[in-house]
């Protein structure tokens, strides 16, 4: 029997009082794709970071290809043939792709020869593994899909034989994700070993050979993928049965709540982000906006949420909304009954250093319930938070904990509790379940549907087509600042939506990937 590519024994790791990994053992066979799943905060990223030398384990041993190996830092991991693509990419934003790839793996003191060699090797690697990147583009100007390819290339350029990917598909479109999986299969075919962390059971089932489940810092099970099923995995992960489908009754659409006409936005750099958009949303209806990130969805949410000014007309229940003037800010929007769950909860939706109870009032801090006159009523805020945390099952239900100390899913629940519990006329939701584990996804979807069933209008933006298809009553697809078309979820499928997202309207004709990539490259900054 061959040695496992990786074997970890008795790995433990604490961050201060938090024990993130407890006595973990895992074996990964060479030439396989090994999945790791687990709830938010289960310790997946920590375990892999230890393997990559990013963190140092408190205890435990690492064997690479049967050899006991010390990995005190990433240098050692790289030398042992390990590469890792982190959940939050470790790229230098204002460097070029090429510079990011050579960083730390330069040949000599001078850059030029290193860059020259990297350029040549990159061309080969790109061809070999279908990893197209633009060597001279700046990271901040390319899309996440390409950024991820850069991360993979970084690892391959360092001759990684073992590749770890931490939640790689969280930010990808379906076609990008498919593309990624093709790449991973190619790599496996080459004999490389891959460890894949994901929250998506479908992906586990689709591509992995083996899957390990983590719960609360411990490794609870490792099973052959072929011998398990999504419901079983979900139960192993969460510790109870999970509904993997959204249950919802047909929509009872009422009057038009939101009317958007000829909405246009130009950003600071003079690029037109929205090009005259029209649509309506009725009460009791979820309008899903599908699209590749960067095609104007974010701007649409920002305009409606009062963060960005725009031209055109927006009416809420027949009353016009100020898009440029003094009433064009988040506070006035909230006063009009528009709630907003932003795409990036850590950057916008929450103040990470604020306690949960402070975050619960965030944006609504002028409400009479949270304050009187110029003062805030902290006691009222705390009380309100305790209630919300209970109703939204936020764990741990401690209003005094800072937002940064909650896991992603629980952070999202805090935002949702704040925005939904007020019964807004219109709810704007961006990427509601990005990076959230399935237990929490189920809950979040239920809350959104419940709001719809109260007759409220909901605008849902998500790059997850599965989510769009499951939640929406109508689907609009955005591409390059325009709406390419509207579909009903029951009349469409991921393939058709994927083509629309790439700006292709004749969805019945055959199209190849390069055409789609070229289209996307022209849209916005991608």
């Amino acid at each position: 029997m061959t040695d496992p590519a990786i074997e970890l024994k008795g790995i433990s790791k604490s961050f201060g009082p938090v024990q993130a990994n407890k006595d973990i053992a895992i074996r990964v066979m060479p030439g396989t794709i090994h999945g790791i799943i687990g709830e938010n905060g289960a310790g997946k990223s920590t375990l892999m970071s230890i393997l990559y030398g990013f963190y140092k384990a408190d205890a435990g041993e690492i064997f690479i290809r049967g050899q006991k190996t010390e990995i005190p830092d990433s240098q050692a991991a790289i030398a042992a043939g390990i590469g890792m693509v982190f959940q939050h990419f470790k790229l230098v934003e204002n460097f070029t792709v090429l510079e990011n790839i050579v960083l730390g793996a330069e040949d000599s003191g001078l850059l030029k020869p290193s860059l020259g060699r990297a350029r040549r090797e990159l061309a080969e690697l790109s061809k070999e593994y279908e990893l197209n990147v633009e060597p001279d583009a700046l990271i901040e100007e390319i899309g996440v899909g390409m950024q991820q390819r850069v991360e993979i290339l970084k690892a391959l350029y360092r001759r990684a034989e073992i590749l770890i990917l931490d939640e790689p598909t969280g930010v990808l479109t379906p076609s990008e994700a498919d593309h990624l999986f093709r790449i991973l299969e190619n790599l496996r075919a080459e004999g490389k070993t891959i460890i894949l962390i994901t929250h998506k059971l479908r992906e586990i089932m689709e591509i992995t050979d083996t899957v390990s489940v983590m719960r609360r810092g411990e490794m609870t099970a490792t099973v052959k993928t072929a011998e398990t099923s999504p419901p079983e995995l979900a139960e192993l992960m969460v510790g109870r049965k999970v509904l993997l489908r959204v249950e919802k009754a047909p929509a009872q659409a009422g009057d038009v709540v939101l009317e958007v006409r000829n909405l246009s936005v130009t950003d600071d750099k003079g690029v037109q982000r929205l090009k005259g958009i029209d649509f309506d949303i009725r009460g009791g209806e979820i309008l899903g906006i599908a699209g590749v990130a960067g095609n104007g969805q974010s701007e649409l949410l920002e305009v409606l949420g009062g963060i960005r000014s725009a031209t055109g007309t927006v009416r809420l229940k027949g009353q016009e909304i100020d898009l440029t003037g003094t009433q064009s800010d988040g506070r006035s929007r909230r006063a009009r009954g528009i709630a907003h769950v932003p795409e990036d909860r850590q950057r916008e939706g929450l103040i990470m250093d604020y306690h949960a109870w402070e975050n619960v009032a965030f944006g609504y801090h002028h409400d009479s319930r949270y304050g009187s006159g110029i003062f805030m009523k902290n006691a009222a805020m705390k009380e309100d938070t305790a209630g919300k945390m209970e109703r939204f099952d936020v764990r741990p239900p401690d209003p005094k904990l800072a937002a940064k100390n909650f896991s992603g899913g629980n952070q999202q629940k805090i935002v949702l509790a704040r925005e939904i519990e007020r019964s807004p006329e219109l709810l704007l939701v961006g990427q509601p379940t990005r990076g959230v584990d399935i237990g929490a996804i189920e809950f979040i979807h239920e809350q959104i549907v419940a709001l719809r069933d109260q007759g409220k209008a909901i605008l849902l933006v998500s790059v997850e087509l599965e989510e769009i298809l499951a939640l929406s009553d109508r689907i609009a697809v955005m591409f390059d600042g325009q709406i390419m078309g509207e579909r009903l979820p029951e009349d469409t499928n991921e393939t058709e939506l994927g083509l629309l997202m790439a700006g292709v309207t004749d969805t019945d004709a055959p199209h190849d990937v390069s055409e789609i990539e070229a289209n996307l490259a022209h849209a916005g900054h991608r």
Binding site: F86, V92, E93, L103, S108, K112, K154
Partner: protein, 322 residues
Amino acid sequence: MDFLTLLQVLDSTVRLATPLLLACLAGLFSERAGIFDIGLEGKMLAAAFLSAAIAFVTESAWIGLLAGIGASMVLAGIHGLASITFRGNQLISGVAINFLAAGMTVLVAQSWFSQGGRTPSLMSGGRFEPVTLPFAEALSGVPVLGPIYTELLSGHTVLVYLAFAMVPLTWWILFRTRFGLRLRAVGENPAAVDTAGVSVVGLRFAAVAICGVLCGIAGAYMATALQAGFVKDMTAGRGYIALAALIFAKWRPWYALGATLLFGFLQAIALRPDVIEAVLSFRVQVQLLDALPYILTVVILAGFVGKAVPPRAGGEPYVKER
């Protein structure tokens, strides 16, 4: 303003800009690596003192220079220890270093030389003498270019030429070498450097050390080239001005040259009320003249320079786990 006056003002500009330039480049290395440094002033001051003291004792400007660099490096080391190793607050550390230098220089100078916190005046060997560039004499007769060469370009100390040579060198190091790539990366995203297998701590210490060297030269220049000895608080806020120039220059070497020359020029022109009055043809209140460089800085900053975006990881210690 006639040509010779202009030359004199520019000549003065060069001298006044030199310490600013060195300190600005020093700050550039440090801040590009993500370590903010408001302790430039203190490092210059310490270097000014020790270079003068050692130059006096050894009668060698060069040994003095090394000593000055050493003094500055010690403070740089403290800053590194506080802000890199112990992940302390970089602003506090910088403030502390400025205080430390202000106090220690005088204290040590007093107990060493008993001349009221200054060093004795340096005799010729202890100072950097002006360098006359080749053919300066011969070319002085050539119209326009001649005086520019002899008056303006020639006749500065070697440290001035060193300072100006540091600009292309800094550019080259930052943008053409492996070290520079890593240095810039660690100021933008230390995690990227860390996961690429390069030591964040090592890089940052290297940057802080370079900062120490350059501040050391700046201080030594003031005490052993511009002046002939150390006088208490002789840097007179130039470290802060250099910091302003650095922000003004958006953390880029060539812009730093431009910014420090501009600041030097504003200071030089403020020393010539006669010229200003001749140009404006009315009397300028002395206090206004005094404040002129600062007012113009604000005006230029507000009027012509857009938002300066510092290195993204600047000022924050690199914390992997808490």
